[in-house]
Symmetry: C2
């Protein structure tokens, strides 16, 4: 066996950094409940500025790419070697939680702070990265910020409208002081290593009593954000049952049929989630005393395998055909489909984290991520990418989203030890 | 057989009155699509003023009661005899149609104009009445205006908030220049006879190719306007199926279960409609990438028999219990229940209309009204009340709502002949 240096992570500094900077970032939000920092909004930019302030205090150099992604470098012993990027995003969904994205950025900052506090020069550069626009509720583009950083957005992506303002991604970049023209022609950093801390956004670790885990796969998605069902408006008291084409009833049937498809596909061993997250039959035209002639909805299918997404989508089209043929006057219009590809992350990077965890006596499980994350975009671009999931509870993407800062601190210490071990290796 | 005078209805005047005054009333509306005149709004008051202008031109006297209902009297030969009230309302649902309410008011006006044009003094006074606030989408009170006219509102009813402004019925009365204090203490007119023209709001007459019908029953309703279902917010990709308490899926299940209850009860011969007219899982907190932790909805049950409404409501509570027990974390909250009683209308009044119809060779069917109408409020107050339904299509309570003015003119002529026949009887 090789010798392992006996370095103790500066746990006090890690804990204080997480606590202080989470509070600083979360002081920036639109009105509650919860936290709202839209993608490419002034609030997102202000949150980036907080981290810039923190990394400058650690003596890091800072640059921003043409799309407004932030990079802060802690120099390593070998300035030529492939760096380790660590980071996440600071935009949130509307009325989101205090940890999604934030925890990953603050975790990355705590790694840098730990090296400074321990007075250790890491073997290679460590680059903290804050991406833009990770939450796809704002622009109908997966991982808009990180894919811009990687030079992987299409010209159409830059024209995608933000869901609340209607202004394009390109226009919002300009409003925040960035140059979408330059972003389109951006030269991405050379493929390197990427690590992202993130809350699990599911109950697995909480239920199992485990503080953190290593993620080696990110589910992909197949989505309809602007789907509609059309029927016939009618009077609730005057329209007999046989004459109705009720959009609400037809949509209820689709929701339950897809719920049954989901159950069946899980039973067959496929990885899949099926979510109708938004249903809108509450326009000014809808009323208690009317049979609904229209309803809008979103559908989000996720899986770790593209073929499963295709099969679920085929089942969707089949169920819609059945409902339309059984319910005259009902017509579904799914609107634009968007996708993100499932991503296998790097087994070498997973092993790298596992070594650091072992150095403090932990043996985190390997698991799959249901949510899409920037790590998937880096993986798709050929980077060696990995995630570290932090136990959380009370759901995610909601104001109640909860996490124990100690769990994040323990995961940060594991990564700190992994880097130290690698330097000694 | 008795002698029948050979009076010809002044069909040209009836047709022109209908056409001109419908256009005048419908020129008054909030921005489209469709027509919007909220209950106790300035727009409703302006529409009342149009009719006041028209009836004054016919030489009728006009008064308004303390609640702002309008009465215009065409004097009869016997000023002491029980008058015949004819009328309807001029408020609309949000983005409603051109005929619901309007057709009834304009039909009543056309009856008055027909007597003037034929230079016939009717046997008794004919009083055109325009009620306020018939559409219960605005205030959670059934037939607020006509029940105010009849002295049948409770003190609580006057405090009911309007759905869009939040101001109370009492406050909106004051804004339109009326005195809710006086309205609470109002002495209603002596019970008399009431007739209301109204579009059918269903496909029965249109499908059968019949221009008008006599309505002898009005369905009652049992409603939940502010029902909610609560579940658990979660991440659409991160929350496994077994951990979810999805409010949208639970509500879809309730909608389909109540649809099945409806089908079963119809099969057993009960009269019933079941409508979930409004479903709102589209708040700022809802998103494509979230499992919904909450959804709001309206439920409208209607029947011609109160016991059937009770049975449907019992089935609703039973289905909710089943769903809650099968889906941990799901909880329904139906909120406040409101009701309107089913109303048997007057068979004498129905026969009265039938005689007039026969005089022009028509034999209109007797039918049931699915929608609630002021005629039900008059019937409940002991008036001899009847409705005349006009064929319509393209639904109702919607901008596309369609009616042939000729059908209304034919029904108006029937009522004109009924009154003439009675005078000669």
């Amino acid at each position: 066996m090789r010798d392992v240096p006996t370095v103790t992570p500066p746990r006090e500094v890690i804990a204080r950094t997480i606590s202080r900077v989470l509070a600083r970032v979360n002081a920036i939000s639109a009105a509650g409940p919860g936290w709202t920092r839209p993608a490419y909004s002034p609030l997102e930019s202000q949150a980036h500025a907080v981290i810039e302030d923190e990394v400058r205090a650690l003596g890091c150099s800072v640059r921003r790419d043409a799309a407004g992604n932030l990079f802060a470098t802690l120099p390593g012993q070998d300035r030529i070697a492939r760096p380790l990027y660590i980071g996440s995003h600071l935009d949130t969904v509307s009325q989101g939680g205090a940890y999604d994205g934030q925890a990953g950025v603050v975790g990355a900052l705590a790694v840098l702070a730990a090296f400074r506090a321990a007075d250790i020069i890491p073997p290679t550069d460590i680059i903290l990265i804050i991406t833009r626009a990770e939450e796809s509720v704002w622009f109908p583009v997966s991982y808009a910020g990180s894919r811009a950083a990687l030079g992987r957005l299409s010209p159409e992506d830059f024209e995608a409208p933000r869901s609340d303002t209607g202004f394009s991604l390109s226009e919002h970049m300009a409003m925040e002081g960035y140059d979408s023209g330059a972003a389109r022609a951006l030269t991405p950093p050379a493929p390197a290593r990427f690590l992202e801390f993130h809350i699990e956004q599911g109950p697995v670790l909480h239920d199992a009593g485990e503080p953190y885990a290593i993620v080696d796969t990110v589910r992909g998605g197949l989505r309809y954000r602007t789907a509609q069902v059309h029927g016939t408006w009618a009077h609730s008291g005057g329209a007999p049952r046989g004459s109705r084409a009720d959009a609400v009833v037809a949509l209820a049937e689709l929701i339950l049929r897809m719920d049954a498809v989901w159950e069946k596909m899980l039973g067959e061993g496929h990885d899949l989630t099926v979510t109708f997250g938004k249903v809108d039959a509450a326009s000014p035209q809808h009323a208690m005393a009317k049979v609904a002639g229209q309803a809008a909805f979103c559908l989000d299918l996720r899986s770790d395998i593209t073929a499963t997404l295709e099969a679920a989508n085929a089942a969707l089209l089949e169920q819609i055909m059945k409902i339309e043929s059984m319910r005259p006057g009902i017509r579904f219009d799914l609107g634009v489909q968007s996708r993100s590809a499932p991503a296998r992350l790097s087994s070498a990077m997973a092993a790298f984290v596992a070594v650091g965890a072992a150095a403090q006596g932990d043996s985190p499980r390997y698991m799959l991520s249901g949510g899409g994350h920037d790590a998937a975009a880096f993986g798709a671009a050929g980077w060696d990418s990995v995630m570290v999931f932090i136990r959380n509870w009370n759901g995610s993407h909601c104001p109640e989203e909860a996490m124990d800062e100690e769990d994040l601190a323990r995961a940060v210490a594991a990564v700190f030890l992994a880097i130290v071990q690698e330097g000694a290796g």
